[in-house]
């Protein structure tokens, strides 16, 4: 078990390195392939009035003239050991873990990300709670009342739910509930949980519900399919033959079996969301990781893009790891050796 975790952790690090290398290569190579020189790249960092000479010096200082590997090495080293950025007026210390230093905002990326993280985590976890409960419950009921009116209605809604892009439902909900009925905030505001839990929840209510609706729809479908499959398993028949109450059969035996594949998907979904609910955050202008990513991309702030990509990948990797570990807990047949 311990060796398994260690092995997985090592693999996670390897995976993150690969992700970072690919990201790095793409963002540093593609502009060059398109003909940008190191001076062009430096020009964005030196202010509007810099002379050609200054740009050249800056390009040199920022290491844009070094080979890609050297640049990547520096970046990687920064994550472990921190880095110093000499941007002219002084040397800026970017302490470990240094996920890059934005020359546009003049801020290290990591504290920025840490700052945004609570928003995204609140958004993702809150929505996750709703969608898991709503989605799984609907799925189970649908499976049990298969073919009933409830089943057909729920599945139609679920199908509609998965067929609507979040920015569309998000906009519609904003127009209806925030601009129109004014019963929810229009996003953009975030109150930390510790400051005021009630406001925190109120601020996030609409994004939660919209996001959860989308996912709940998917999970309802998944759960229903899974339940239909497990309810056909022999062990369900055994449970019934024992004389168990139908509810016990469904929840303790059926659901337990149906939930494992959902767990995997849940891990991946949550991981991806924690790495930035890009569309939701930009629809509701929530200052989370996803919005940060969009903004960073908007201003082509490569260090920030790198940082946010890595953090996002990190969440997916960690979520996968946790799911795999959970799997071993849920399913005793899975042995982690």
């Amino acid at each position: 078990m311990v060796t398994y975790i260690i092995r997985r952790l090592i693999w996670s690090v390897v995976m993150l390195s690969i992700v970072s290398i690919i990201t790095f290569a793409i963002f540093f190579l593609v502009p060059r392939l398109a003909g940008a020189t190191s001076e062009d790249m430096a020009a964005r960092y030196v202010g509007r009035t810099a002379s050609a000479e200054q740009v050249k010096v800056a390009a040199e200082k920022l290491g844009f003239n070094d080979p890609l590997i050297v640049q990547y090495g520096r970046f990687a080293k920064g994550i472990v050991a921190g880095a110093d950025y000499d941007y002219g007026p002084g040397v800026e210390r970017c302490p470990a873990p240094c996920f890059g230093y934005s020359f546009l905002t003049r801020l290290p990326v990591w504290p920025d990300l840490l700052d945004r993280l609570p928003v995204t985590i609140s958004l993702a976890l809150g929505a996750a709670v709703i969608w898991v409960i709503a989605g799984v419950a609907t799925g189970v009921l649908s499976a049990l009342k298969r073919g009933s009116f409830f089943d057909r209605a729920a599945m139609s809604i679920a199908l509609a739910g998965v067929s609507m892009p979040i920015f569309f439902t998000g906009m519609v909900s904003l127009v209806l509930f925030s601009y129109g009925l004014k019963i929810t905030v229009a996003g953009g505001t975030y109150t930390p949980f510790l400051t005021n839990p009630a406001t925190w929840a109120y601020d996030l209510l609409l994004p939660w519900i919209t996001l959860a609706f989308l996912y709940a729809a998917g999970y309802a479908r998944l759960t229903r399919a899974g339940m239909l499959e497990t309810m056909n398993e022999d062990y369900i028949r055994t449970a019934r033959a024992k004389g168990l109450r139908e509810r016990t059969v469904v929840v303790k035996h059926g659901l337990r079996g149906a939930l494992t594949p959902i767990l995997t998907i849940f891990g991946l979904d949550l991981g991806l969301l924690l790495g930035g609910a890009v569309l939701t955050e930009s629809t509701y202008s929530l200052p989370g990781i996803g919005k940060y990513a969009i903004d960073a991309i908007g201003r082509q702030d490569l260090p920030q893009v790198m940082g946010v990509t890595l953090v996002a990948a990190f969440f997916v990797v960690v979520a996968n790891l946790v799911v795999d570990l959970l799997y071993a807990v849920v399913d005793p047949r899975v042995r982690l050796v």
């Binding site: 020009a43 964005r44 960092y45 009035t49 002219g88 007026p89 925030s178 229009a186």
Partner: protein, 566 residues
Amino acid sequence: GGSTTTPTSSGAPAAGGATGEFNGALTAVVNPSDKKGGILKLANAGDWDSLDPGDTYYGYSWNFIRLYGRSLVMFKSAPGKTGNELTPDLAEGLGTPSDDAKTWTYKLKAGVKFEDGTPVTSKDVKYGVERSFDKEVFPDGYTYFNDFLNWPKDYKGAYKSPDANTDSAIETPDDQTIVFHLKQPLSNFDYFAQLPATIPVPKAKDTGAKYKEHVIATGPYKFDKNEIGKGFTLVRNDQWDPATDPNRKALPDGYDVATNVNADDIDNRVLAGDLDVDVTGTGVQPAALGRILPDPAVKAGTDNPTGTRLWYTSINGNVPPLDNLECRKAVEYAADKTALQTAWGGEFAGGQIATSLLPPSIPGHEDFNTWVPGADNKGDVTKAKEALTACGQPNGFETNISYRAERPKEKAAAEALQQSLGRVGIKLTLKPFPQTDYFALYAGKPGYAKDNKLGLAMNGWQSDWPDGFGFLQQIVDSRVIRETGGSSNVSVRDPEVDKLIDQAMEQTDPNSRNGIWTQIDKKVMDDAYILPNVWAKALLVRSKNATNVFVNDAYGMYDYLGMGVK
């Protein structure tokens, strides 16, 4: 032809006009009150470029910065034209010119202190200007001081040349006196002296690029919490002495500023009274227009000032066939200006159709229309075709038009141009670029623009202060064009214009000076290097809870110094 009338409330006196009416705050104070207390809630759909006085270049930021920083001179906090007048702030009086207006001297008031209690000296003012010199640290700021003061050769700013003797540029003979030395005569240096760069910065507390996280206040408010990207709060600065400051009423107990808020939500909340001000002062979003304009009751709570901003399209003479005047003329003629006006937001939220460069509120503005785009302003296809034929491109040509990807109005305007120029065979391809790099790397970089055939570029310019110099110099002087990129003038390259600018700067007589700016305006239009779109207007919403609301002409938006809360 565009009329120049500045919208004013027709006649009705606003004295005690607590209710307010449409455009009521343009000329009078709405909801006058002296009640202190309360928190003023502001929101910004985007974010400040910087809160650092040495680095900020947004109009609303200059308006707002007066709450926590005091510069040598400031615009009066008053409605109507008065707002355009300068008044001493840190200084005891306006500047005293000498040496043919090449030397300007200011005396500082006594008793002004930083928030930590240390007295403000002329050295702090000088340091503030010196540090702003470093455009690597402060990339956003203006370069007036860099360009006009008589700095020693190789001077690189307070950080990189800490030991340089800068007395040739700024002298501080004593703690209360500061003397500026210019390279060339400048007849109205007081406009320079109101720039935020003259807000004193204590050298001991300067943290360079990070100073924006906590600017040391000299005004009535200081920073409390500052979460970059989310917002900040200002609280009263107990070291601020009202006795030294006749300009500020300092009514609220504090300011609560949220940044990166949904723009439509800001409108709704201001309309509902949950929020006091949209701090950017750029007016409501298009969605709100439909709610405000048709409803007289709602409309009465709004103001529609004309700013000092021109939205325009640069026509790059470096990109063939636009190197030919006739081809540029074709663009001027073919453009559908009403479509452009709509694209920019229509009559109220967009602006007034512009026929020349200088906005109506700026001295030197004159009504003329060099290239009349048809009687209905929808473009003169016949004349455009004639011009094309004269240019040797009878079937039109292809070129690109750049705009800032994040700005839907620029996109709409570019699409409108694409549509109207398409009528005469000028085929435009839209090229969005990220706004951060728009000037540094793309449209403002001559080499790039030329290589990538950016024949047209969407552009906008707001006067740094309400005079011809403040408006025109940065966008028509070919000498500000930088090959390395970052120039705001991307198309006008006319030596005659440059010569005229020099004349205007030296001219001390305001009337002749304004005459020269008019001349420059006309010359640029004759060259057809610029296609003026609109002189921007903004539809501002007054909050029900705000008191003392009035538009300051210098900023073209509500004056944040005066405002209080009910």
